[in-house]
């Protein structure tokens, strides 16, 4: 697994976990990808570097649908 960046972004509902690399706080679009935010925190935690920052947009996050990986 490749750690993308020290700072990653989460935008649920308007982003794409598969295409986006979470390095930019932008919604997903075909033209913006891969420089867009991911949709889930779990995906962001996979992409962020050790000691990095996960920036989460305002939304509802239902726990149980994602888990954080052990470091």
């Amino acid at each position: 697994m490749t750690r993308a960046a020290a700072s990653v972004y989460v935008r649920p509902g308007s982003s794409n976990d598969t295409t986006c690399n979470s390095t930019v706080d932008a919604a997903y679009s075909a033209s913006a990808a891969p420089l867009c935010a991911v949709a889930t925190i779990s995906r962001a935690l996979q992409l962020v570097e050790t000691g990095g920052v996960v920036n989460v947009a305002a939304s509802q996050y239902l726990l149980g649908r994602w888990t954080s990986p052990a470091r």
């Binding site: 920052v53 989460v56 305002a58 996050y61 726990l63």
Partner: protein, 220 residues
């Protein structure tokens, strides 16, 4: 570090932006790290979360509700949930349950350091600790094995103040419950009932009436 929309909003003077809310009934948000002290969660709203971090950590600028454990809070707005008292109407509720009166009368229990409300009267004087070589005629005297010794009259003993070294529970009933009956409070531990058994502290009240030579004044 997990930053929400209000990660850098001051809880005192700032206006919070729309929240990123963690929710889920009975869910657990668990972070594991080789260095848990580096885990930082800021600017979120947490609802119904039990068990947040695997060890110590910091949550900042977050509005929280629900039950959270193993956390250090910094600049967070906490919403504490009221825990409803157990309400059961079985027979044991009114007889042997020590919380019967608490539930019946909605008594408030406060723990604190309580001292005696009044002084205690010394009822016993250790005679062997008091002696005199020059007894006065107006003092009550009695003979001991080797000499005369003075007896301090009980009425002259002073009052002593004895603070408690442990905490007690103080129960203050609300005014509306002062006259509400409590059925069968056999082992209830708080007021609004008469004591079932009168317990008297073991003070020794002993008066010595000694007239050694027929000349000692009567102090009583």
């Amino acid at each position: 570090m997990l930053n929400g929309p209000n990660a850098f909003i001051s809880p005192n003077s700032g206006v919070r932006a729309p929240e990123a809310v963690f929710t889920g009934a009975g869910a657990q948000l668990r972070f594991t790290s080789s260095n848990p002290a580096n885990i930082s969660i800021q600017g979120f709203t947490f609802q119904t979360i039990i068990g947040m971090l695997s060890s110590s950590g910091v949550i900042e600028d977050s509005s929280m509700s629900g039950v959270v454990s193993n956390l250090t809070f910094a600049r967070s707005a906490l919403q504490l949930h009221r825990l409803p008292l157990r309400r059961s109407m079985g027979s044991a509720f009114f007889s042997h349950n020590p919380f019967a009166q608490s539930g019946r009368h909605l008594l408030g229990i406060a723990r604190g350091q309580i001292e005696f409300g009044r002084d205690l009267l010394i009822r016993q004087v250790q005679l062997h600790q008091i002696e005199t070589q020059h007894p006065h005629l107006q003092r009550l005297m009695m003979t001991f094995k080797d000499r005369l010794r003075q007896i301090i009259k009980l009425a002259l003993t002073g009052l002593t103040f004895i603070p408690l070294t442990f905490s007690l529970l103080r129960v203050k009933p609300p005014f509306r419950d002062l006259r509400r009956p409590t059925p069968g409070p056999v082992r209830a531990f708080r007021p609004t009932q008469l004591a079932k058994h009168f317990v008297i502290l073991g003070f020794i009240h002993q008066m010595l009436d000694v007239d050694q030579h027929g000349t000692t004044p009567n102090w009583s």
